[in-house]
Symmetry: C2
Subunit: 146 residues, 2 copies
DNA sequence: ACAAATACAACTGAAATTGTTACGTATGTC
DNA sequence: GACATACGTAACAATTTCAGTTGTATTTGT
């Protein structure tokens, strides 16, 4: 996997879950399918659980499943759950510059970026997991009877 | 400097140039002021030059200056010149997955992100370098007579 | 000729992120 | 109750990314 794989992994997994909401999946299964590691899966899905999007059960027959209908999960929910903040928060928490241009500029740029970030989330909220899930999903069909 | 410092460095430098457009600055001067390295400055400003925002002259008395009025430079121009692409291009150029959900999903997510990216650029285009430049800039005043 | 500046390539180093291992804890089955 | 299974978490290793650095070539004005 590569850069920003958390969002990818989260969406991929949620998309599969949307296709078969009652099936409980282990982090090992998910990791195997997404070609990554169970611990990585738990790290990412753990964030989604904190946000109330899915639940995990320990022990035998435990695993992960959606805790709300996939229709109710927007891309914004996933994005915010992962603390992504693509836009703003970029050039922050630096040592305070002794250049008045720099500090004044940073403040103004921060305002602009914050507005854009808000708008990003607004638009992500308009798309749900089911919206980005393929209509004809051979994987779901093959797994549906399991 | 830190993450996404290229945009910071670019805006900081352009902002200074906006305050005294005819002054030619060397990458060493700029690096010194921005507490970074001349080569780093050239890397970043080189991108802005490719985009036509400023020019560089080699040799004695060479250096960098704006090639267009600062009013005509929007944040979008800078953002695009640096190939930032904060939003989309995030989970791309991975090895093609053998999972039909993954490929289908990626395509759909890409559409959404591209739309959001377009909107981001639109909004960045509404703000110019002079807009984010502090109105009362002690640095500009002190340098104005040089 | 010389000095000053960009252009560029190659390498180094630090920070962030992912991947891995290991161990603790919880839960269902026998 | 013993055991297998699965999550939770911490600690560490490997990888990636990007700023930083060094060195050399080239251009340009004095």
């Amino acid at each position: 996997m590569k850069r920003n794989s958390r969002l990818s992994l989260a969406l991929h997994t949620l998309s599969h879950m949307a296709g078969d909401p009652d099936r409980v999946r282990t982090s090992a299964d998910i990791a195997d399918h997404a070609r990554t590691n169970p611990v990585v899966v738990r790290r990412v899905l753990g964030k989604l659980r904190e946000a109330g999007l899915l639940t995990s059960e320990k022990g035998h027959a435990g695993g992960w499943k959606l805790s709300v209908p996939a229709d109710d999960i927007s891309l914004a929910d996933v994005y915010l759950a992962l603390d992504e903040r693509l836009v703003s928060g970029a050039s922050q928490d630096d040592e305070p510059s002794d250049c008045s241009v720099e500090t004044g500029l940073q403040a103004r740029v921060a305002v602009v970026l914050d507005e854009i970030e808000e708008n990003l989330v607004e638009r992500l909220r308009e798309t749900s997991i089911t919206d980005v899930h393929p209509k004809t999903c051979s994987y779901c069909e093959s797994q549906a009877t399991q």
